[in-house]
Amino acid sequence: MKQIGYYPGYSTLAQKDFWDDATRAVVLKRLEPPAPLRFFGPGEAERLEAVVNQILPQDDRPAERRIAIVPELDKRLYEHRGPGYRYADMPPDGEAYRMGLRAIEEIAQHLFGAEFLYLRNRERDQVLFTLHDGEPPAAKAIFARMSVKHFWLMLVNDVAEVYYAHPWAWDEIGFGGPAYPRGYMRLERGEPEPWEKPEQRYEWAAPEDSLSGECRPLPGSHL
């Protein structure tokens, strides 16, 4: 399988000898096999995995190059690590995840009469789009205690944070990665450093059986 992204052959990890020790240790840790889950039970983990696969699908990546996301979410919640604030209309993060998973189940049942796990790709996207649009058709009791908008953004943010922290994701988007102590020398006009690759674009399209390829503004957006 060809490397995903417009920078074929680009590898941030190939530069790891030029990174400082502390940074190298932190980044290389992300390549280690994921730790066992401690916060989510097996049933929850399976459902969360299915949700996360919609929010950050990786079907186009070779199996050995998929970035494990659920274990990192589990770790954050088990260790009670938060961003430093909680919205007044939200329960504590861990509780919000559990409630959110139940809500997604209720919406799946309401729309399709089946568990989220047994839905087809497009149906799963449809369920999640109801959260994105801030109009879940079910789980009223849950969303009386938790803001749809804040739950949705927490979920997308948390997932994006794990994926785009990984050096394989940096290769995909052409990000330079850690750059201390060497730094950059070509700052303007998007010029590549000698170890970076020039861009080679190709036609990119989301799989036909999905809905999330088309971005839809969140409610209340201005521009």
């Binding site: 950050l56 604030y85 919205y87 953004l153 785009y164 201390y180 700052l187 998007g190 999905s210 971005c215």
Partner: protein, 549 residues
Amino acid sequence: MKCYREEEAVDYCIVGVGSAGAVLLQRLARAGFKVVGLEAGPFWDTERDWVSDEAGSHQLYWTDLRITGGSDPIALGENNSGRGVGGGSVHWAAFVPRLHPSDFRTYTEDGVGCDWPISYKDLKPYYELIEREMPAAGPAWFTWGDPHGYPYGPHPMGGVGDTLVRGCTKLGIRVCAGGPVAILSGSRADRPHCIYRGFCIQGCKVGAKQSTLISHVPDAIAHGAEIRDRSMVARIHLGPNRRVNAVTYFDRDGREHVQRARAIIVCGYAIETPRLLFNSACPGFEQGLANSSGLLGHYLMVQAGNVVAGRFPDLVRLYKAPPAHAMTEEFYETDPKRDFARGFAVQTVGPLPIAFAKQMAKAKGAWGWGLREVMMDYNHWSTLGVLGEILPAYDNKIELAEEKDDFGLPVAHVTFSLHENDHKMIRFAVKKVEEILLAAGAKEVVEEQRYAHLVGAARMGTRPENSIVDGFCRTHDIANLFICDGSVFPTQGSANPGLTIQALAARTADYLNQQGEAIFTSSHVSREKPPVRRDLSPPVTFGSGVPRV
């Protein structure tokens, strides 16, 4: 490092060793006072503790729980709250514009906000001092507000600044490139110059970006200041004669200590400062220490920090160069042709992949395959930030929540809502930045609504009825209790607050020096302006750098 005994009353106990606290600690130590700084976070070993990595840098931020509400709630944590010696200056982007002279008198000039008890002239010598102590890099002639130049030359441009300069030039908007930022464009003493790696807000491992950790803390320690890190202050004690005399704090192992002091300066920033004073309520100050006015916690402000992102056909590679490297203040002042008071600045921002992904989740509503696709175009986007003046409002505030932290102390509950002038300013500003990006050649423009920089909540003012502290950061209620940090701002302008916070600290230090023993013994409050003490600058700073006055 000097080590004081707890039962020994030091002259000054400083709560929070961040932007203001470190400057005070350094100057008071240099002037010969016995000073102890208590800092809730760690004392950084920058080479070992900091990483050139986004997700690995969370420890730099205040990540203990806070509750945030209101109709336009503020994101906290990494967005605006530091922790550890150096405080917010460790993870700021280091834009260092001054406030404009008009910022100190918005009520008189525009009938909005309120006037400061001090003027631009009072702060100007301290702006000049601190710009040299940082030292700041920027153009030889900065044209807005009170025009001035910078000691170090401007930085080379990155891709984001390039789009700002091109767009502004097309539209005839004056713009400035390469600063002003507190990042070295040439090396100085043991600090190397910038390497343009773009990780400013993850802590500058290079040592090119100023933080008080590297600019003021070493000199403070060399002159006998003690810093106790991982020490969370829980309460300030009120003694006889309405004077404070000690603080209770928890050390790194959770053990409780009491440090006696002859005067106390709270430098905890806009949330932790009011929280500590509320948590120090006692007989005589039932609604919070130094809060006879009832205004403590009120008039909390953030600046509008909307990010406007434009996608360009050519590569930008926005991760290179410091996020802060070009700006315009052309829209800073009130313009009678617009339907709102005050204004905004436009500045470069350079989000790294995680921050950019989160921005796209909000700005484009991207998730799933759409998020993957937009992220594959990461290198084609340029991001400009509005930095807009939100006016102070009584109902934007800090209170104590029901919930408690690990020490059993009630956490802060923040309430924030935008008002009419703010909405109008933000819509106008976002439209203007959109024009700039389109003029520069962007093919698609999107906006993420967000806020930057907390200030206010313990405002300075002329009288005990309208404010918490006076123009020298002394609480009206308690003669030996001071508050010196961003929380004393009565209004905020459209300038990043870091420079002003450090300048206020330098001025307060001069005041304390001039008052000498009177601070500890007398309840008489002098309003005499102190002489500017250049000999208190850290070595090799004042007057160093590219000679230019």
